[in-house]
């Protein structure tokens, strides 16, 4: 009974496939679809026109997060001239935030830009992590759990702002190092982050994200000649909790303006969408091919058997 056997084989194949389907698929869709930003999330508005590059925020963050002492002290401004591979300073395993200077042609004063995690609404780091090490908390922070991270560093690939860094120096306790919005020490208590509190210029404003967007628009409206008419982070990467106002075009102040205006997750949705198709159509399709290809053989076999009888 060749056909019967074949059907059984085929069923086994189907079972294997659907087993794979249950593990990889069902949750994939529900989670991707249900993840949204929180309405009362907090944020920070950074106004580049107010920042004087004093690096107080860097010092405050270093202390608050108990990071190792820096090579050069925080009052050493020669760091603004440092270049690595032609790039200005960036976050690394010893610093969650850095301030860089940008000399913009035609402007009397340079601009200073503080970078740290932008705490995206739909974080790329979170959506790309295959062990769910990241959480977007209702307060707006994107926090990380070192106890489940396996160190694949996909989150670093995915973050469009080049923020997460890896503790490469440790063999036994490596982990991702990134700004956590001072989540456990301050944000949960309703306090502004250490760096914001330390800023003498009020270049950083802490508040509800939705209020900050309004505030940003208002500043632009009241002083249109002083700002570019754009809040960087309102839509970038699907919107971020930390947003920026700038008096000069954003690309001249070191911002990556090629960052898409939609969540990074959108770029992989198409692929995740084809997964169920492949899982359901392929087994039937190839089992069909198999039956077709072997039909001739079977027929011959059957004929021969009948001939023998």
């Amino acid at each position: 009974m060749p056909t019967l056997i074949d059907r059984r084989r085929f069923l086994r194949g189907g079972l294997l496939a659907s087993a794979a389907a249950t593990v990889s698929l069902a949750p994939a869709q529900t989670e991707a679809a249900s993840f949204e930003g929180y309405p009362n999330a907090m944020g920070v508005l950074v106004d580049l026109s107010r920042c004087v590059g004093c690096r107080s925020c860097e010092a405050a963050c270093n202390k608050e997060q108990q990071l190792p002492a820096p090579e050069k002290p925080f009052n050493d401004f020669s760091v603004f001239d440092e270049l690595h591979h032609g790039q200005k300073r960036r976050t690394d395993e010893t610093r969650y935030t850095v301030v860089n200077r940008y000399d913009i042609p035609g402007r009397e004063h340079p601009l200073f830009r503080k970078i740290q995690c932008n705490h995206c609404q739909e974080p790329a780091c979170l959506t790309s992590c295959f062990v769910n090490a990241y959480t977007k908390t209702p307060e707006g922070a994107v926090v990380y759990d070192p106890d489940v991270c396996v160190g694949c560093r996909t989150c670093m690939i995915a973050c469009p702002f080049l923020i997460p860094t890896f503790r490469y120096s440790s063999a036994f306790k490596p982990r991702i190092m990134k700004c956590v919005f001072c989540y456990d020490t301050r944000l949960t208590k309703g306090l502004p982050p250490a760096c914001v509190e330390a800023c003498p210029q009020e270049a950083l404003t802490f508040g509800r994200r939705s209020d900050l967007v309004t505030m940003g628009r208002q500043r632009i409206r009241e002083n249109p000649s002083a700002y570019v008419d754009h809040i960087y982070g309102e839509h970038e990467a699907g919107g971020t909790a930390w947003m920026y106002l700038s008096p000069a075009p954003f690309d001249q102040a070191g911002f990556d303006t090629s960052v898409p205006k939609e969540p990074i997750l959108n770029y992989v949705k198409d692929f995740l969408g084809i997964v169920p198709m492949v899982l359901t159509i392929w087994p039937a399709l190839f089992a069909g091919f198999h039956l077709l290809a072997h039909r001739k053989e079977k027929m011959q076999q059957v004929n021969k058997n009948e001939g023998e009888v």
Partner: protein
Amino acid sequence: MRTFIANNQVIPITNHLRPDGGRWTIREKLLLGLSWDQYRAQFLRNPVNWALCFVFAVGVPILLQRYLFGLGSITHASNDYPWGLFLGFGLFGMVPLSASGFLLGTTVEIFGRKDFVPIERLALLNGLLGYFFAVVYLEVDLGMPWRLYYPMFVSLGPAAVLFLVAWHVATYLSVQIAEVSSAYFEWTGWLKGKRFVRSITIGLTIAGIILSTLHQGALGALFNYAPAKVHPLWLSASFQWIHFFCSAIFAGLSMVIVAGALCKRHLAWRCDRRFLDNVDQCTLGLGKGCAYALITYLVIKVVGVAHDNEWAYLLTGWGRYFLLEMALAVVLPMCLFAYGVKHRRVGLVRWAALISVLGIVWNRLNTAMICFNWQLYREVPHWKEIWVTVTIFALYFVVYRFILYRLPILYQWQGEK
């Protein structure tokens, strides 16, 4: 194995029974019927082994350094380029080259092309080892290699593309172990096992097709996470997974052609007539498949550029580099395959296969490293990182050869099956 060639011996150990009637012991099987001294002598005679020893002598201490002092001690610890050679070559390069298993499995088991049977096992083994060593590379690269199973059992992030890769590679690895195990069962003489595997072959093969389609594609889709980082010519969000899947087809087939050619040339003592007489014909057949896959790939690459309207990039320096890749890694092997198959020039097809194997590795390195962060700077890997990559590849070679020497991959088992 000049011992065998010189003595003009027949193929060693293809049966459980010794010429004198007794049964081979496991030890004798492992030593290929040679005495320990003979085995050592032939090992030392081969200059390839000396080169391998040199690679290991330097590479193993570097590996130890990595596990004792962290990844930063053997790489440049770049935060801008989180993925280096271990993944760029080891994962993104090895996995397409190992598509051979599912491709030949499909050809033989699903489409019933029995003419490819002589080379099927080589393709299956090539697939299994490629995947296995991709995981080895991963274990070198992961920050916490001891948590390899976390995405499966401890903390699941099923909405991530890498989650799919992890699950599928793990499942597929077991499928491939099952597929190759029949050779092992023949060799050890455990026939029950073999019969069981035989009975689920079709299921395994179909599972292989599904898993391969998805994770080959998923490796491409991983780069969709970095739309602002990978150069647009190497990243086409809507087509990335098809590009990766389609290129895996000719990559896998080419890799079998290359492996087959190496076996025919250097391992002829281990091959039986069935393999030697058919390998050229199979090579031509596979070459034809490669030519078709390459032309499909070329078309969808062009479609990718057109869809995203990236023509302007072609005029830049990156564009020239892209065209160079297309010319050398796609068009050149495509023409060689087509010409070689048409005029039955097996040698030419083999060269074409080698070019397309190197081409696909080049493409993956371009996507993962060279054209990554294209607006920043190029990262040149630390020499120790390169050395470790070579060391793992050498280990892959040694294991591959060890198995080919022994299991009935290139020859048919003569004992009961």
